[in-house]
Symmetry: C2
Subunit: 95 residues, 2 copies
């Protein structure tokens, strides 16, 4: 199953940026970063429960974390427009 994870955090603070980096590092173990704060993770249901618990433990109290379950047949449910399909915070693209 594919789960879209969106993480809203105030990146004007060093602590916020640190949390976003930490969340991103965890998410990319299971999928890809597609926007600055949007991740697409492919995992079975049991693994997804663990990912969710890990991310909830990482978040700050003013942050917002959302999960969207796109199921197993997700190929036709995602559309992208813009200059790049994947995002690398370090400045290069994984093509």
């Amino acid at each position: 199953m594919l789960t879209v994870i969106t993480y809203d955090v105030n990146t004007e603070t060093a602590e916020g940026r640190r949390r976003l980096r930490k969340v991103a590092r965890h998410c990319v173990n299971y999928g890809q970063r597609v926007q600055n704060s949007v991740f697409e993770c492919v995992a079975d249901a049991a693994t997804m429960v663990k990912i969710k618990a890990d991310l909830i433990a990482m978040m700050g109290e003013d942050d917002s974390l959302r999960f969207y379950d796109l199921g197993n047949n997700y190929a036709g449910k995602i559309e992208h427009y813009g200059s790049h399909e994947t995002y690398e915070a370090e400045g290069f693209l994984s093509l």
Copy 2:
């Protein structure tokens, strides 16, 4: 059907912030802003085609715009964690 719209734009520039405001104003006509750059819109397929075309016309060349189709039975597919379920850039919450 519910469509999740994620819009990645550089908000360090006035032009980027302006485009984000414009995209947000358009999306909230059809749904709600749930994070700074994440929107959930409920519309039929024909209306969604129009929304997509409108947003694509608004975006800048370095921006990223993604659409996730959650279908009609979306209630159990969304999970939220954090301090607020909806987001208002103007500083108040729609509860």
